[in-house]
Amino acid sequence: MTKKDRNAFTEEAQAIVRKMTLEEKVTLMSGDVSLMQMMAAKKTGSHYNQKPYSAGGNERFHVPPLKFCDGPRGAVCGLRETTCFPVSMMRGATFDVKLEKEIGRAIGREIRAMDGNLFGGVCINLPYNPGWGRSQETYGEDSFAIGSMGSALVRGVQSESVIACLKHFAFNSMENNRFRIDIDCSKRTEREIFLPHFKDCIDTGAASVMCAYNLYHGIHCGHSAYLLKEVLKEEWGFDGFVISDFFWGIQNTVSAAEAGMDVEMCDTKYYGPKLIEAVRNGQVSEKFVDDAAVRIIRTLNAFEHQYQNSGNQYGKEMLGCREHVRLSLKAAQEGMTLIKNKNHTLPLSKKGKKIAVLGKLASRANTGDHGSSRVYPKYVVTALEGIVKEAPDSQIIFYDGNDIGHMKSLAEESDAVVFVVGLDYRDEGEYIPGSKFNNYIATKGGDRSELGLHPYDVEMLNTIGPLNKKSIAVLIGGSTITVTEWEKNISAILMAFYPGQEGGTAIVQAIFGSINPSGKLPFVLPKDESDLPQVNWNASSQHYGYYHGYHLLEKKKIKPYRPYGYGLSYTSFEMKDAFFAADKRFIKASVSVRNTGRTEGTEVVQVYAGFKNSKLDRPVKTLCGFQRVNLKPGAEKQVKITCPLEKIKYYNPEKSKFELEHMKYEIYIGSSGDNKDLIKGILDLSE
């Protein structure tokens, strides 16, 4: 479903709007679910968004209401029904756009089966600092990768006639103070770092956008005519509608309406009667209402038409069905990222071994945050259940206590020790402060002020790790977890993220080698968190600089613990015969990849462009293409990657447009963001 498909419905929408009363038009723009209703539903035992939240609709003209289902790790609606996928960050580590599209399709089908029509789970914010509590909901730190993966999700969801809603527009990369934080950045940072992935998804055809809570340059994003009207609707030609983030996304009727905010979600406080009154007394021109109404009707009718014409009638049989669970497992398998494997510690042999499993997280159903992205699947396979199932001939002993002596004996008498360590919803996620009002005793989620493990996990790894040569740390978490304080004492480290409902299966398959890890870090893993841009999570204002993540470390010549795009395999690959070229629109890169090991495996080939010759302040290099390639032992394939020239342009604030620097670019192709893993070439784009 593209913009072009939807344009066919413009005239019909305009005709309807002409016949509608002001009340009818404003009703389309106003959410139906009040905070009181939501809290009341919670008290009766329902969870957030158990049923789609509806807004608008018009019976007289047969306009369906918008029915919102949250995400992104699946459809939030339902209880023990829908499929829980790995968090987006793990899907980001797969670098598999085809799979992400398939996941989008599965989520789309499940939303239709839940009677929803809008997926509020295309979260594509860029974590300026990975301590952002909701980093797990996005695809990594690189704008190009976020844009590619987000676009794939949009394509998948919308191909099943469900509206994909991008969020949170824009600069929403801090959680604790999200309602108040005022973000500032330069024009180039805005255009080159924080907005391109939104534009990519709009270009793909995303039909809805949710505003952010935070302020940008002193203005609430939901009131920002610059962001919503000027950039999104005019410059990018967005034809869909903008919805507010729930309850606090709009704080003033006139500011929001004039800025191009189309729907107040998910209740009605500032729209509804207040908007009608504002139009009647001339504070808001009716043309804003008409524009919003046309956008809403056009979009909903187009998607409804597509669904009716598809012949599909998805019912409960779709929810958590075998095919969707298989996709969830596949994403977890592809996203498992092996970041250390000293002396081939992994894979472990399954045969007759005694394996000690340590760490409280091993037996927890830990799929990530417990805020608005929480999905409620039928079951979750824990790491412990996975290991018992996968290695029936081994003796598995799990200890989750704190007695170091007990752990020591287990480590000494076992053939291998698997530590499952990391984070859960208490450590990161949507910020829910404890209060009487919401009946939460303890604060949940929020930003992480430190990027390492809990001190008790660090102590365990440092004390017990050296006692067994086969010591394996499985890291659970939504983004960067620094490992420097303990990694020397551990032989193998597997980053497992929050791997979804089949996560335990995938973790253990990777440990025993039934799958070959192929995930790549979608962020740089620094030695020290102070290498990253510093953020005060509780500040009232924050400046986002031009550099973050691997861009920053490379610029400052700081060697990370692991570079962006890094991930080991149980086999080895050789790349040669790199070829680079460019025409007026595309950069073309190709390389021959050969599996030189004994195991089938998948490599993620990455292309970076370098800006050494730039006269401007630009990154050392930036990602501009990637592709997965699966190879049997000994097999060889040529991988071709193309990238629009747009992606290496810079934003000229004086001319308010992207421009190409005419110079020689370094161009790299290889297996990680580290130059030693890349073949370098030169691309001459001088005039």
Binding site: L384, K389, D393, S394, Y399, H406
Partner: protein, 311 residues
């Protein structure tokens, strides 16, 4: 722990519909190596007993408490004829939900003291004694109290004692069954002096595989197991003053009286004669009793004492 456990090493434990577990207050004489699916809590209220788990022998005296895990092979025998013990058996099902394919293995043994619990042992004993008291209660609420304290006990061991979750591979279970079968064979054929050879042949196993099996499950060598069984049988027979010592020596498979005396004294610290003497005072009607008589009032007093209530 009835005498007949000597013949059927696997105790099948029937749960009555109105109780959640089996509770017994008894004097323990002896039981051969056995195991059961149920967890077993053993609290010594008075006197002493000897517990054999693996190759560890522990002496438990009044105030001691031990939890035998589901399917763990163990044996218990009296070290003091005056002992009174509280036994509580509960099904692994009562601990559910348990991760698929795993079982809880608790570490709670006030005489062994590996992996100390977070709270003093007396705390667990108090709850166990309250289960016993509720079990003996004549009031209608007694049944509810019994269940309540039982659940409390399970919650407390999970929260405040150490445990491991262990995978129960089918192989482990088969091995435990085989070990118990060997133990049973030993008991039934204790008269034979050629037991090891008969066992290798009868079970179709090599000496090496029997050794490995028993080390893994019971923690003893075959010889140690046979010796223990001979001594145990001798203890039982010695309690009947009508059986002459040379008969006992032969029935128990000792190669001669001298060996019998030496081995018995080595194992028990006293001679067979001294052991026999110790029993005579307790006998009524000249009959062997598995449960020595004890009076109900004393039991209530003991339970109240260990429950920390006014006696």
């Amino acid at each position: 722990m009835k005498e007949n456990t000597r013949n059927s090493s696997y105790e099948s434990i029937q749960h009555l519909t109105n109780t959640s577990a089996k509770v017994m207050i008894t004097c323990i004489r002896s039981s051969a190596y056995h195991w059961h699916y149920d967890y077993e809590v053993l609290a010594v209220l008075k006197g002493g007993i000897e517990v054999l788990q693996g190759n560890e022998k522990q002496l438990l005296s009044a105030g001691d408490l031990v939890v035998f895990n589901s399917k763990s092979v163990h044996s218990v025998r009296s070290s003091d004829t005056e002992n009174i013990c509280l036994l509580i058996q509960f099904s692994p099902k009562m601990l559910e939900p348990v991760p698929v394919g795993m079982t809880y293995h608790f570490f709670l043994n006030s005489a062994g003291k590996t992996y100390m619990p977070k709270l003093p042992y007396s705390y667990f004993l108090e709850i166990a004694a309250k289960i016993g008291l509720a079990h003996r209660s004549e009031h209608a609420y007694g049944r509810l109290e019994e269940k309540a304290w039982l659940y409390m006990f399970m919650a407390e061991i999970m929260q405040n004692a150490q445990y491991e979750l262990r995978s129960s591979s089918p192989e482990n279970e088969e091995n435990a069954k085989l070990a118990v079968a060997i133990s049973k064979y030993i008991d039934e054929n204790i008269i034979s002096e050629q037991l090891p050879a008969e066992i290798y042949k009868g079970f179709g196993m090599s000496e090496k595989s029997v050794y490995r099996l028993l080390k893994d499950t019971v923690g003893l060598t075959l010889k140690e197991m046979i010796d223990a069984a001979r001594i145990e049988k001798a203890c039982t027979m010695l309690q009947d003053p009508s059986i002459p010592a040379p008969i006992i020596s032969g029935e128990c498979g000792f190669s001669g009286e001298v060996t019998f005396y030496r081995r018995f004294r080595h194992a028990m610290g006293i001679t067979p004669g001294e052991y026999r003497k110790g029993f005579e005072g307790n006998l009524t009607n000249g009959e062997i009793q598995d449960y020595l008589s004890f009076n109900d009032q004393e039991v209530d007093m003991l339970l109240r004492h260990w429950a920390g209530l006014k006696v």
